[in-house]
């Protein structure tokens, strides 16, 4: 009897183990979903250390809803000639020589039903960039994932700042 039972138990353990491993792999797969690869591994820190401010590359946030991703012209205004010998800059120089816009991938995605205005927050509400964008100025490599901002975070901040927390103030 004992001899007959053994393979059954082993089978169960194996099935269990396979399940655990597959769930683990699935979680990793789902987590890496929506991963972002930027066309160039932009280093925020090196640029801010050299005295660049946010608005030098993202020029619209004081006036428009969208802050804007930097156009090639902005890069080219400093990188007329290669400033370093880094591989990344070589690739940038290729973009500039070919005149091809760099297709930067958006990091923050706002749901379709939400209206968000940078001007309203930055120019009118005097919110610092870091409140939502964290320590991105300190990053040496671009984040690999879409950053999510929860409604809870928005509402908490609105409450603290005594801003409008009416639903239709944000949900259009």
């Amino acid at each position: 009897m004992k001899k007959l039972r053994k393979p059954k138990k082993l089978g169960l353990v194996l099935v269990g183990l396979t399940l655990v491993v597959s769930v683990f792999l699935l979680v990793i797969l789902i987590d890496s979903w929506g991963g972002i690869t930027q066309p160039l591994p932009f280093n925020h820190k090196i640029h801010t250390d050299n005295g660049l401010a946010c608005e030098d590359c993202h020029p619209n946030f004081m006036e428009y809803a969208s802050s804007g991703r930097p156009e090639l012209e902005i890069c080219a205004s400093c990188h007329e000639e290669a400033l370093t010998e880094s591989e990344e800059e070589k690739r940038l120089m290729e973009y500039i020589q070919d005149g091809n816009e760099i297709d930067w991938v958006r990091l923050y995605r706002i749901p379709e039903d939400v209206y968000f205005s940078h001007r309203r927050h930055v120019a009118v509400g005097n919110v610092e960039c870091a409140v939502c964008h964290g320590d991105i100025v300190e990053s040496t490599r671009p984040p690999s994932k879409v950053r999510k901002i929860s409604m809870e975070k928005c509402m908490d901040c609105h409450e603290d700042q005594e801003a409008n927390n009416d639903c239709i103030a944000c949900h259009r």
Partner: protein, 230 residues
């Protein structure tokens, strides 16, 4: 706090439907086909009803433009089980589309039948796709929608005023239908402000409201000479 409201002078309305078109374009309201119209499933946040009096050739035609009444005591809000529709502090009856579960209690409870259910998946022609207003969402199938008094325009007007470090002026905020009306039959403003035109007009003897006896207290007032026979 302001209380936004509208006055519609029926004696000035020529039934041109400009307000209807302006509203559709401003608020990404889907186009309806004749079948939808026949089955009362067409969506039109602003609709102009035609009232005919008399027999041909002695016919008198009158028109009545109907946006959401933004009732002070809105029956639609009372029945919403999920809080998707509510009265906001400035008097606008708001609809949060992502919160709406499409139960249609509100559409049934609106005595003015001015709430619209999306029976169909919204479809846009290629020409229209590039002309949609980015400040207003595209509603999905299965949710209720309604006139918002072009609330997004109020948001923009407030933002502009704060950016320019000044108070919001009443004329900064005008819904699309009011802006487009060629005869000036639609007037919009703050009903709370004793100096405003809408406040004054809402108190004159020509003013009345639709289905006043229900106690919904609409914030849309109508003006006409004599009795309204609609």
């Amino acid at each position: 706090m302001r209380k936004w409201g509208m006055v519609i002078d029926l004696d000035r309305c020529t039934g041109c439907q400009a307000c209807v078109v302006a509203c559709k374009a401003e608020n990404n309201v889907v186009f309806s086909d004749p079948t939808q119209e026949e089955t009362h499933r067409a969506i039109s946040w602003m609709s102009v009803l035609t009232v005919l009096e008399g027999e041909y050739p002695d016919v008198k035609e009158s028109y009545i433009p109907r946006p959401c009444m933004h009732c002070e005591n809105p029956p639609c809000v009372k029945v919403c089980p999920v809080g998707a529709t509510y009265k906001n502090p400035e008097g606008i009856v708001a609809q949060v589309y992502t919160r709406c579960i499409g139960c249609r209690y509100c559409t049934n409870n609106c005595p003015y039948t001015l709430k619209y259910f999306n029976y169909y998946r919204p479809r846009w022609s290629n020409e229209m796709k590039n002309l949609l207003n980015p400040d207003v969402s595209k509603r999905q199938v299965g949710v209720v929608e309604k006139c918002s008094f072009c609330h997004h325009r109020l948001q923009k007007a407030k933002e502009d005023a704060r950016f320019e470090k000044r108070e919001l002026r009443e004329e900064d905020y005008v819904p699309a239908c009011v802006q487009t009306c060629p005869t000036g039959a639609l007037i919009f403003g703050d009903l709370q402000n004793p100096k405003s035109e809408v406040h004054r007009l809402s108190k004159i003897s020509r003013a009345f409201r639709l289905l006043e006896e229900l106690g919904t207290e609409p914030q849309v007032f109508y003006l006409t000479e004599g009795e309204w026979h609609g």
